[in-house]
């Protein structure tokens, strides 16, 4: 058997094994929302919210929205009504920020989107500090902008 045929055999064997493994472990080969699927496996205790629900909650003033990105990114543009908790500062002194949180409302954290993990890191700390009713807007600022929801800029 020549080298290319051999490698093709190995390739097909691997694809078959992958399909079998995905069936056995109940892993969808083509999930609808990959980000939510993968992050819900990594952080099983965290709840997620989509842009439509977030927009409705913001309209009713039922949500305290945290932007976990750095200050310079926040200034360039953020979701209307979001408060900036830059992760680098928040990490070193979370108590300085926690006092600002309105615990009567639901807390939603977001970052850039596209597999940025700052929102998860911030919410992990908030959870350790005893805050409940936390949610992550996984689409982040990229998704919000793309869907033309209101944004705010501070120049």
């Amino acid at each position: 058997m020549n080298i290319f045929l051999q490698s093709t055999v190995i390739f097909f064997l691997s694809v078959l094994a992958a399909i079998g493994f995905s069936y056995y472990k109940k892993i969808p080969l083509f999930p609808k929302n990959l980000e939510i699927f993968l992050y819900s496996k990594k952080y099983p205790e965290i709840k997620f919210i989509d842009s439509e629900k977030l927009f409705n909650l913001l309209k009713k003033n039922e949500v305290f929205l945290i932007d976990a990105r750095e200050k310079d990114e926040y200034v360039k543009g953020h979701i209307d009504g979001a408060i900036n908790f830059p992760y680098s500062e928040f990490y070193s002194n979370p108590l300085k920020f926690v006092d600002k949180i309105d615990t009567q409302r639901k807390i939603v954290v977001y970052c850039e989107g596209g597999f940025c993990e700052l929102s998860f890191k911030v919410s992990e700390i908030l959870k350790e500090l005893g805050l409940k009713d936390l949610m992550i807007y996984i689409g982040g600022f990229d998704d919000w902008k793309r869907k033309n929801y209101p944004i705010e800029r501070n120049f």
């Binding site: 058997m1 080298i3 290319f4 045929l5 051999q6 490698s7 093709t8 055999v9 190995i10 390739f11 064997l13 691997s14 694809v15 094994a17 992958a18 399909i19 493994f21 995905s22 472990k25 892993i27 969808p28 080969l29 083509f30 999930p31 990959l34 980000e35 993968l38 992050y39 496996k41 990594k42 596209g114 597999f115």
Partner: protein, 152 residues
């Protein structure tokens, strides 16, 4: 004895030593890739997340790719150790390590540092860096060395 007669046995000894070296190299590379494939399968969601963070593949293919790669490593590693479809196993691993190195270099150059999804050593994932690129290049050269001798 003529000079010519002395050279022939020396060459034979050299060939024999090279063969032992090659077998040792194949066992080493085989075990390395079996381990790498096993670790990826053990933490398949983490690996898929790492693949997604590279931002190279469309999200639609990430799960299929992340599930196939560990089996490619696992089968090629086993075949390399046991001498089955050996040349094909070399070719698969060369292609894989080439793609991995390009992806790591791309992420490193674009300044996105996260776990590289390569090997987990003592339970710790390594971050993308010069070290991971350099390590991959060495593995790539070892694979090229192996396939060169197996092709003869």
């Amino acid at each position: 004895m003529t000079g010519k007669e002395r050279i022939i046995p020396l060459r034979e000894i050299f060939k024999k030593h090279n063969l032992y070296l090659l077998i040792l190299l194949e066992i080493f590379l085989g075990l390395l890739f079996v381990y790498s494939g096993y670790i990826k399968l053990k933490n398949i969601h983490e690996f898929a997340l790492t693949v997604a963070k590279y931002g190279i593949l469309p999200s639609y293919f990430i799960n299929l790719f992340s599930l196939t790669v560990p089996f490619l490593e696992l089968f090629s590693g086993i075949f390399l150790i046991f001498g089955i479809l050996k040349k094909g196993a070399y070719l698969v691993l060369i292609k894989l390590i080439f793609i991995f190195t390009l992806a790591i270099t791309y992420a490193f150059v674009s300044g996105r540092i996260f776990e590289c999804g390569c090997f987990e050593i003592f339970g710790k994932e390594e971050e993308i860096g010069i070290y991971s690129i350099f390590r991959n290049l060495i593995i790539f050269l070892l694979l090229l060395y192996g396939i060169r001798f197996r092709k003869k």
